[in-house]
Symmetry: C2
Subunit: 332 residues, 2 copies
């Protein structure tokens, strides 16, 4: 029972008016009498007519689609972040009759993004992660297509929406320093990710502000596997380190497991904190001191910013979302 699609001509004919008038009634542009507008609205409502976005797009040179770039190699711990961002993005786009096209991206291979753009299928792009040398950014800049990046970038010309990781990491580190912990280690991920750099800067800033010299022998980068973490934990425990800060919850999970293996008690033997918690740490025992961000809000802001850019409105080039420091048992 596939009812044939109804067009603007049908509406115009049925109402004995021109399609120009119908178009005006719907778009709200141009002068039109309230009477005819009401008539049109009633009719299209009743017959449930909706303009074809294809035709609209052709005429207005807009697709009403935005691309969201999805890193193909997202690990299981990153997925919830992405999911929540996407839900936030969707809340805004769907409310504005726009839709989301997913664009898979593996590492720095922008093949798919190029296809999307040369095929003229999108009006703008949201990047959900940025690399130090980001080809997607370069390409988009070159093409002049509106885009916003979730996550900080080094390049200041890029419109960005992010959690205020710097401030958050600085604050958490500062709290730990003020608690009197003498030696605080830091275990971080891929140095090629901007986020890693930002977090490190927050960490260092706290030391600077506190007036304490950082012991760089206690900072580790490019760590991901349980094996690597195990070795580090062992080393740090022997050094009698007070506290380990993990840059994300994936690392933190591994630290917790390593402690279990080595019969190290948290927090009596060793304090633990995490600069990030996607959900993995939620039900862990003991509860873990960590930073909490609102990813959905992040998505919403990114989407709103992008739509504004597409509409040629002025936007804030550097939107920062708020955070909470959640102090738990692991640092008591």
């Amino acid at each position: 029972m596939s009812t044939e699609r109804i067009t603007i001509d049908d509406v115009a004919e049925a109402l004995n008016i021109s399609k120009t008038t119908v178009s005006r009634a719907i778009s709200g542009k141009g002068r039109i009498s309230n009477a005819t507008r009401a008539k049109v609205m009633e009719y299209i409502d009743l017959h449930n007519y909706r303009p074809s976005s294809l035709a609209q797009g052709l005429a207005k040179k807009r697709t009403f689609n935005i691309a969201v770039v999805w890193p193909k190699e997202y690990s299981i711990v990153d997925l919830p972040f992405f999911q929540r961002c996407l839900i936030g993005i969707d809340e805004i786009t769907s409310a504005n009759d726009n839709d989301i096209i997913v664009c898979m991206m593996k590492n720095n291979d922008i093949h798919q993004l190029e296809r999307l753009i040369t095929n003229n299928k999108i009006d703008g792009v949201i990047l959900t992660r940025t690399l130090i040398e980001d080809k997607a950014c370069e390409y988009l800049n070159e093409k002049g297509l509106p885009f916003v990046a979730i996550g900080n970038t080094i390049d200041n010309s890029i419109i960005t929406v992010d959690n205020d990781h710097f401030k958050a990491c600085r604050e958490l580190t500062m709290i730990l320093l003020q608690k009197g912990f003498e030696s605080i280690a830091l275990i971080g991920g891929d140095e090629n990710h901007v986020i890693t750099t930002i977090r490190y800067e927050g960490y260092s800033a706290a030391f600077r502000d506190f007036g304490k010299k950082m012991d760089t022998s206690l900072t580790y980068f490019n760590i991901s596997t349980l094996e690597q973490v195990s070795d580090i934990v062992k080393e740090l425990y022997e050094k009698k380190t007070d506290c380990i800060i993990c840059m994300d919850d994936s690392i933190c999970g591994n630290v917790i497991n390593a402690c279990k293996e080595q019969n190290i008690n948290i927090p009596s033997d060793l304090k633990i904190a995490s600069f990030y918690d996607s959900a993995v740490l939620e039900n862990v025992n003991p509860s873990i001191t960590s930073l909490r961000f609102d990813d959905r809000a992040l998505g919403r802001r990114a989407a709103q910013t992008l739509l504004d850019m597409i509409d040629k409105k002025e936007v804030n080039p550097r939107t920062l979302s708020n955070y909470q420091v959640v102090l738990q048992q692991s640092t008591q």
Copy 2:
């Protein structure tokens, strides 16, 4: 440096031929001399012209977009399944110059899907989960829009792509019975999900085939929280149950935790198996006997089926993907 988009007219003019010819050269339809085709191809390649999918769509009444329905309330354990499916789908769609629009769906609220369809933004839909009473299916059937569901459905008129859960669950259960386990319990999830029913049927079929009466006092449904699972494990352990089959890895993870809490050793005190493993169980100790499915392949098949349907080709209404039974320590 946003180079202005080039159109088919530009190409035609530059080459001093009509745009019909250009169109033919690109689409491959209609007779055309090899010489002119080559000339056209070279030019468009050099100037990197691509037909506007908007205009193409308007003319051919196709958007070259498909929707993938994304359940908003996906839990963290389901995400990897979805992710892998999506990657599989993308492999096929992108190879065919189609794109994926995500359509968020909360429970049975098809609001977004309706918008997508009335706005004429998609050619077909992939459903990534089916409910017993599925409004999306009903709506799509009514609209006559091509769609395929990943996951079994009760309604046989629906085109479906799925892992062969029935056969897989029957086989795993059968193996356990043949191992001589006397009492085998089953802990399952939401009874309102078709998948739950299918798994249960596989389980029962094994008992029937084996010629053993099922003890329905050992089957539990609608279980999700750790508290629920803990109580059940306690109860079953007191009853000296041999083996617990979990319908999915989320439940299985909880069973493992419950066993740890209650100092129940796997497998010496109790055997454990799971009808599904999304990734959560991957590094668990002891390793868990479970069913393994290829979700990417599933996505690929779903996408190929849908594209065939859109092209009005004949399709297999019931595609079943293969599985592996992976026997591990937990049932030794």
